[in-house]
């Protein structure tokens, strides 16, 4: 069962196009969407939610009633007060749980009934996250939900998402620039660049098979057939590989570092190829 399935999705703008995208979000999984600014992450999320219209392709998703959303830079009018959100949402979602909403507000220290406008960026984000969770959704679509949050609150929020994932039917599609957050909770990493998906791998696959090797020119010459991409630094070469077990067998003394998402992204997007 997929919570989201996207087939050949395309959307064209004057200077940018999302091109023939295929993506599945299986129930029970967390998909982390990464990519540079303007790569198409928000465009994809807006297409899924019907905020913009697709040119072609198919989107199949569970009912919007069962989806919780946090958008990047969009929420209810900021002249509203925190308690107003409860009154409004109670009349929007059939499953709105007032008690649960208040519990999240307490957890996030949002107990004063002030206008959204008067909240700090981080507090506002927390209010949006509380709102996204209080109708017991099955799927969360989150565009940069942790941006503007301090590390402690980010940790709390990630814990809440982890708690949410304890139910097998639940799933999350989350885009973030803070890739360490994704390493913590995602099951799959999807890398978008220039409107195309250029990597869609499970975290397990990445941990088991991907690696980064820092080596000399001589070593690089031997490895270069096995490299996906590389970068020539001042003193050494940085090489991204996706078959580190084989390489390890061949070159026992070679040190292969774990590939973290930031470095992988950099090498995949900006690295050179032989």
């Amino acid at each position: 069962m997929n919570s989201i399935s996207v087939e050949n999705l395309s959307k064209k703008y004057k200077h940018f196009k999302l091109d023939n995208l295929n993506l599945n979000v299986p129930a029970g999984s967390v998909i982390g969407l990464v990519g540079a600014n303007g790569a198409g992450k928000t465009t994809l999320i807006k297409l899924l939610l019907g905020i913009i219209k697709k040119d072609s392709g198919a989107i199949n998703m569970i009912d919007k009633e069962e989806i919780g959303i946090v958008l990047d830079d969009a929420f209810l009018p900021d002249l509203l007060k925190i308690n107003d959100i409860n009154k409004i949402m109670k009349n929007i979602y059939k499953n709105w749980n007032e008690e649960l909403f208040k519990e999240y507000l307490r957890k996030f220290n949002l107990t004063n009934n002030v206008t959204i406008k008067s909240l700090s960026k981080g507090m506002k984000k927390k209010l949006e996250i509380a709102t996204s969770l209080a109708h017991n959704p099955k799927l969360l679509i989150l565009d940069e939900p942790t941006s503007g949050l301090d590390p402690i609150v980010r940790g709390e929020v990630l814990d809440i998402f982890r708690e949410f994932m304890e139910n097998d039917e639940h799933s999350i599609l989350i885009s973030s620039h803070i890739t360490s957050d994704l390493e913590n909770i995602a099951d799959y990493i999807v890398l978008i660049d220039n409107g195309k998906i250029i990597l869609n791998k499970s975290i397990m696959d990445i941990t088991d098979n991907y690696g980064i090797i820092h080596c000399t020119k001589e070593m690089f010459d031997k490895l270069k057939d096995k490299a996906i991409n590389y970068r020539k630094n001042k003193y050494d070469y940085e090489v991204l590989v996706d078959n580190k077990k084989e390489i390890k067998k061949e070159y026992k003394d070679l040190n292969i570092d774990k590939a973290n998402i930031d470095e992988m992204m950099y090498l995949l997007l900006r690295g050179e190829k032989e």
């Binding site: 919007k64 958008l71 209810l76 002249l79 007060k81 409004i88 959204i116």
Partner: protein, 217 residues
Amino acid sequence: MKGLILKDLLTLKNQMRNIMIIIIGFIILSIMMENYFYISFIIPFYIVMLVISTFSYDELNNANTYIVALPYNRKTIVKARYYLSLMSIITALLIGAILSFVTPLLNPDMDFMSTFASCVAAVIGVIFVISLLMPCFYKFGVQKGRVILFIAIMAVSSLIGVILSLFENSNLKIAEFFSTLENINYIILVVGAILIILLILYISYLFSCKIFKNKEF
């Protein structure tokens, strides 16, 4: 849909202090000018125009983007706005009726019927305005919408001017046509006016739906 109407009402409620200041301003102005007719049409007019301000509130915080992502179809979102308009029209007429009752007590020269008639005229006028404004705002947003509406009003009024002058030059007598209106039964006139208002709002609603259906945020 209730949630959407509530969103607008609660936003307006949080602006109540500003709204009251403006209404009190109108009352003071009216007393200073010793013109009680003024409040009986400006306040109902202002109340209906408040619907327009909810469009600007939705542009705050990109609320439009968030709202279309909620489990509503786009038609319902537009419909909620038009229901809010109807609610504001009814409120304006009720307040107009109260004012028409009160002002003759302050100024014996005035009577209920003539004051209430001016209030009804103001409300009908403002319905025309919002019927034009709402599709414009859906199409162009609040800032651009205002400019485009201004251009449209200029264009339409000059067109009407041209047509009228053509009539004047010909032998047709418009005055004669309007004088026949006076002979029509008063009730038919009122019912006709209400039907025309509802029709105008409905046509405006259809346009707004069509525009909003394909709108991207």
